[in-house]
Each structure stands twice: as C-alpha cells, then as structure tokens.
Amino acid sequence: MPTFFLRRLLSLPPLLLVISFLTFLLLQASGGDFFNRLEEDPKVSQDYVMRLRASAGRVVPVAPADRAEDLGTFEVRGNTYAFDAQGALLRDGAPVSPATEQDALKRFVHADGDQYTVTEQGNVYLWVGRLRGYAAWLGNAVTGDLGESFQYKTSVVSVITSRLLNTLLLSSVALLIAWGLAIPLGVWSGVRPNSVIDYVCGATAYFGLSIPSVFLALLAVLFAYYTGWFPIGGMRDLVRWGDMTGSEKALDLAHHLALPAAVIGFNGLAGYMRQMRGQMVETMSADYVRTARAKGLARRSVVYKHALRNAINPLLTLLGFSLAGLLSGSFLVEVVMNWPGLARVVVDAVFARDEPLVMAAVLVATLMLVAGNIVADILLAFADPRIRLE
C-alpha cells in the first residue's frame, strides 16, 4: 500500500506538467487576448495596454539602448526601419514619428521570427513566444505562484480558493443528500426486488439518471419563482449578510443551498441507488444469507447485520469516484442557479481569456479528480481484501 501511494504521488508531477503545458498551448491557439478588451475604451491609450501586457508577462519591453542591437535594420511592408543609439525610430535612415507608422509597426514579425510592437509613443515591446511564456509560467508555478488573474487583478489562488470552497460546500451537501437517500432506498428496494417500491425506485432511478442537470436546474428555477419558497439564485442574502448573527447566516446559507444541492443530489442519487440495490439483491441471494434466513434469524437482523454490511463495501469505491467528480457534477447547476462557485469563474475566464485563471482552474480540477481516484483505489483495497494495490 505505501508503495502504491508513493507511486501514484510520484506520477503526479509529470502528469501536471504535461497537462499544464498542453493547456497553455491550447489557450493560445486562437488570436486575441484579455487586454484587447481595454483597447476598445476610447480613454485608454495603446501604451497603457502594452504596459499592462508587459506586467502580465505577455510582452517584454526593449530598452532604448538595446533596440539598435536587438532589431537591427528590418523591413516591414516595403519600408526599411532601424533604431538609432538612443532608441529613436528611423525610416530609410531618417527619424520618423512612430505614431504615423502604426499601420506597419503596430505588430510585426521580425526577420528573426519574433514579433514586435512599436507603440505610438515609441516604446518597443517583444511578444513572448509560447515556449518562453510557458517556461516563465512554470518557473513561477513551482514556487507556488500561479500568477495574477487579469480580470480580478489579484492572485488566481485567492480567486480560486474562495470559489472552490463554495463549490465544495454545494457539492458535498449534494453528495450527502444523494448518499443519505441512495443507501436506504437501495436497500429497501433491494430487499424486496420486484415489489412496488422497487419499481417506483427503479423508475425514479431511470428518471434521475436521464434527466440532464441543466434541465432539472431550470425546472428548479421555475419552481422557486412560482412558489417563492426559495431564492432564485445566489449563495446568500448579500445586503443583510453583514448584519446577521452566526445562526442567521447558517440558516440563510441553508435556504440558498437547498435547491441547487437537491438538484445535484438527485442527479447522483439514481446511480448510487441502482448500485446499492444491485449489491443488495446479489447478497440477499448469497448462500450465507439464505442460510441465516433458513436458521430462522429475523429478517431485519439478516438484512442489517449480514447482507448490508457486505453489500455496502463495493459502494465505497463509488464514493471515491464521486469525490473525484465533486467539481464537475455541479458545473452547469452552478451556472444556471448563479452559485458563486468555480464553474462561473471558469466560464467567464474562458470567455474573457483570463488565461492564468483558466490554467489554475484546470489544474485544480485535475488534482481533485486524481486525488478522488486515489481515494477510490484505497477504499477499494479496504473493501475487498483480495485486491492488492501495487
């Protein structure tokens, strides 16, 4: 077991390395970046946007003294440009204002393959290539610095942490609901296969397995709107939150949690219930149970002392997998019901091209999944002594 654990842990860094690299490449696959948005604002100058890009590491400023050496004499759109020793722009050897050369020099590919920008005010920036960009990101990441979110202007870790906790809160309550209902219902219908209860539970299971969570969430929104019993979205009463006492806060949170957690829980419930029922049916027909029944033991004691204990073991693995799915299970429900969790942040970040944030979110989700799988394997080993992890 320790070896197994160690091996899984050791395989993690290369895995994260590959995933982060692929994600990084992927995120730069199509043109444009987060800072384009600012350029639309009539009040923001091009130099300001380039400076922001520089502080985000997307471009590197070229100091006036280095320009002549770094760029040499170069040709763009039929004109020959160069820089003098002071870093001023020359066209065909004569000084020229960079503002009038924007058509050519706003962003161009230098003969050496690098892309440069000469701004209206005459500053020169080198665009950072993908490999160099990734190396820089990785260099910071290994020290625990995952960068700053472009949108939130604060470290992505702080953005993600609070949202992640919200998501985990929602999904774990949903998980509790799902398991809390799945086990008794599964046992109930498993003990009486082909009874009315079994059929009702079976139908519910099909229903729950097949109903898309988006659809169910939309129905829940309609329900909340028409009855007025639940808030339509969000996680807490923002206005009154500051003035609430601890117990009021808990109550308010529970009120907001109820619907989304029920929706996610119902979606998961079906699978677990079916599994539980299957195990129960199998164990109830096992020899030792039949023997116990034949010996005249009370049905109740047979079910709870013998059958249930054995039937529940395989479900432990499922529990591990459901831990792995904590982040994704709630994704669309969070979006529909405005839960301030990771899902919204990721979707917004993908739209806004907030690359550091997307990177970090993917890595966190990956870590959660892998950790969940490891837990599942360990639980499996506990549940079934025949399986040895190596």
């Binding site: 995933i19 696959a29 397995l209 898309p212 939309l218 339509i232 994704s328 979110a361």
Partner: protein, 443 residues
C-alpha cells in the same frame, strides 16, 4: 484464410440470440422505438416541421404553445398617470388552457375533425405612463384550418442524413394557409415561438439533426479510435503501450467538462489560415471531434485490458502459431470479441455526447444562433426573466431527457441481452467505464 472463420467465435448464432433477448425486454424495446422516432423525425425534419429552423416571423415573436392553449387579449381602461383625469386603454392577455391554440371548431363554431388555429394578433397601445407596448394574443374571431401535405413556396430539404442523400421537395406535413387579411398572422406554433418569431417545434426537429447526430458520429469516432489505440496498445505492449497509456492517463486526469469547455472556448475564435472563420458545419464537426477526443481514452483503456486477456486465448495463440499476420489476428480474432462490449458501451455513452453538446452550446461555446441544436435552444431559458415569462422555452430539455432516457433503456437492455453469463466480465468493465465517466461528465 479459410480456416479462420471456423475458429472465430461470433458466428451468426450469438447475435441472433442477443437480438431475440433484446426483443423480449420491453423496456429496451421502448427505448429503441423512442430512438427510432427521434432519429426519424430528425432525418425528416424538413418534412415534419412547418417552418425552417431559421425562418422567423417578426410579428409572431414569443407566441404561446398552441398545443396547450392560447392567449386572449382583453382591453381595460385605467387612469392615466401622465394626463390627470384621462384614462388609458391597456390590453392584457389571459392564458386559457386547452382553449384556443389547436382546436376543433371551424369558422362557424361547428365541431370538425380538422384541427384549426386562430391567427395571431398584435395590439399596439400606450400604457398609463405613455410607454409604447404590445400585446400579442389570438384573434379568436377567426379559425383557420390546419392543412396536411401542404406545398411550401420554395423547395427545401425534406430528408437529410448528415447532409448525405438530401431529398428536396416542396412538401410539408402540415401548415396553415393564410387567407386574405391574415397574412403574417397565420401560424401554427405547436410549442410556441421564440423572441424572433421562429417556431420552437421546427427548431427542435432541426436541432435534433445536430444534437442526435453528434452522439452517433462522436461515438463512432471515439469507438474506432478507442478500439484501434486500445487494441494496438494491448496487443503489442512495450513502448507503444507505455506511450499510449500515458496519453490516456493525461486525458482521463482532466475532468471532461473542463476539457470540453477549454477546447470549446478556443474553437470559437479559430480561423482558417486565410483568415476566414469556421463555417457552421465546421464548428459542428469540431464539436464532434472535441467530444470524441475527450471520451475515447476510457474506451481505449478497457479495450486494452480485454485485448491483454484475449491475446493469451488458445485460438489466438493457435492463429499466431499458424503464421497468421498480426493485423489479421487483431482484426479477425481479437476485435470481434470486443464487439458486444463496444455496442453496449456505445449505446450507454451516446448520452454523454448529447449532453456534452448541450453543455457547450448552452454556455455559448458550441453551435451558434441561428443554427439550431438542443443546447442552443435551451440557452434561451438561461435568462430567468425570459424563462419565467415563456416557460415553454424549456421544451428542448424534455427532448434531451427523452433521448438520454431512451439510450439508457436500450443500453441496459443490450447489456442484459449480451449473454449475461459469458459477458459478465465485459458487462462489469462496461459498468466501470460508465462509473468513471459518470461523475466527470455529468452533462
């Protein structure tokens, strides 16, 4: 190789057995029939739908679903807020269940077997504050017959199978003719219309072409890829196996939904090398490929395991001893043994592709308006304001639900039918695939 067929196990026998068992499973048959109806209606969307998916009537936006009833407009006088002492006439609408909409009374009010609809009317007025407003309701004074096998103005595709073998005609299953005075008002909107006056029912049928085929195409690609990669990996082992398995691990380690959204986000801005953006067909194909790419890994992993076991089987060892070339062994002896697993798994995983497309389009990263898919249709329901006023915009959700359930019915039936004893091993692994896919691919 003439000796080979005799050695191959899947003779016609087991397939026929499977088929017979399946037919005895009522639930599975129900699923199959539902799917047949859904797919047929998607293929014949052009014929069944009274309108094209992008054909909107601006005067008929946000009409109510005629299948269930209709809106009636009533005038009311209320005190004006801007001109003291005067009144303003406002028009309010009232929903009546099963009255109005599709009904069976003709113009004279007599009962008839032919369904009729009322033309839609739009009343423009100023409210008590002087703000311009519109009320859209039915003109109950007129009843228009719904005609069957009507001819439309232009030729259109009435049958389509992924764009192959299109059949063009002017025929439509049903429609309503506009007699003089009702032009632009005569519509049959079974499930209502959207903000642009497009028939939701028609868009649903056309949307099925995309949403349902995404599943089939996607599963076809990922199954082929999964079986190929898994087969090669399992049969050859060694460094090929090592490389393939690491690749599989990377894909499996990222939650499917996150992967889909990140790739989808990039796809949107993708362009051809000449700067032209992707066409709608290309976006569609990209979505299929994205989904297939995300889901092939788990299939390949199971196939690999099965191949590892199968390659030690006597008949494979024998074939190898006889000098049968490796590709032939894989194709003739090993892969056929994974088919029953493949079919069961394919059926049970198609819903994930359907839901994957829904998730992408719902979030605005997939199919784009005016194209129709169930996901983009459901996107209309994302705005709470819109949803609570036009609750019928969640109709696509019902269709998604039915499709997913039907696939589950059929898949479960297939699993039970696929030789419960001998295939218990595969059934369990198929289950494992699902269990693994389930939490990550919730939608």
């Amino acid at each position: 190789m003439s000796a080979a067929p005799a050695a191959v196990r899947p003779s016609p026998g087991p397939w026929r057995v499977l088929w017979r068992r399946l037919l005895h499973n009522r639930v599975a048959v129900t699923g199959g029939v539902l799917l047949a109806i859904l797919y047929a209606s998607a293929c014949f969307a052009g014929f069944l739908a009274p309108y094209r998916y992008d054909e909107g009537d601006r005067d008929a936006s946000r009409a109510a679903p005629m299948l269930f009833g209709g809106f009636e407009a009533a005038a009311r006088e209320i005190p004006s807020k801007v001109r003291p002492g005067r009144t303003a006439t406002i028009y309010e609408r009232r929903w009546t269940w099963l009255e109005g909409g599709i009904h069976f009374r003709d113009q004279s009010g007599a009962f008839t077997l032919r369904p009729h609809v009322h033309p839609l009317t739009e009343i423009e007025y100023r409210d008590e504050w002087g703000e311009r407003a519109y009320t859209r309701a039915e003109d109950r004074s007129v009843s228009l017959p719904v005609r069957f096998f009507v001819e439309s103005e232009n030729e259109h595709e009435i049958f389509s199978l992924l764009g192959l073998w299109p059949v063009e005609s002017r025929l439509r299953l049903f429609g309503v003719e506009a007699p003089p005075g009702t032009q632009g008002r005569a519509h049959v909107f079974l499930l209502g219309s959207d903000a642009q006056g497009r028939d939701i029912f028609s868009r649903l049928l056309f949307g099925g072409q995309i949403s349902l085929s995404v599943g089939l195409l996607g599963v076809l690609i990922s199954m082929s890829l999964g079986m190929l990669m898994g087969g090669i990996s399992g049969y050859f082992g060694g460094w090929i196996d090592f490389v393939f398995q690491r690749l599989v691990e990377v894909i499996l380690a990222v939650p499917a939904l996150y992967l889909i959204i990140v790739i989808g986000g990039q796809l949107r801005g993708m362009k051809h090398s000449d700067g032209k953006p992707f066409s709608s067909t290309e976006i569609y194909l990209s979505i299929v490929i994205v989904l297939a790419f995300v889901y092939w890994a788990s299939i390949s992993r199971v196939i690999r395991g099965m191949v590892l076991a199968l390659k030690e089987n006597e008949y494979v060892v024998a074939a190898r001893a006889l000098g049968v070339p490796t590709p032939a062994i894989i194709v003739r002896h090993i892969l056929p043994n994974t088919f029953s697993f493949a079919i069961v798994t394919a059926t049970l995983t198609i819903p994930y592709y359907i839901l994957g497309e829904v998730a992408l389009s719902f979030l605005g990263l997939g199919i784009q308006d005016p194209e129709a898919s169930w996901g983009i249709l459901l996107r209309d329901a994302q705005e709470t304001a819109y949803l609570v006023e036009q609750p019928w915009v969640i109709a696509p959700g019902v269709f998604i639900f039915i499709a997913v359930m039907a696939f589950n019915f059929l898949g479960d039936g297939l699993r039970d039918a696929a030789d419960p004893k001998a295939v218990i091993h595969t059934a369990k692994t198929a289950g494992d695939v699902l269990e693994h896919a389930e939490p990550e691919a919730d939608d």
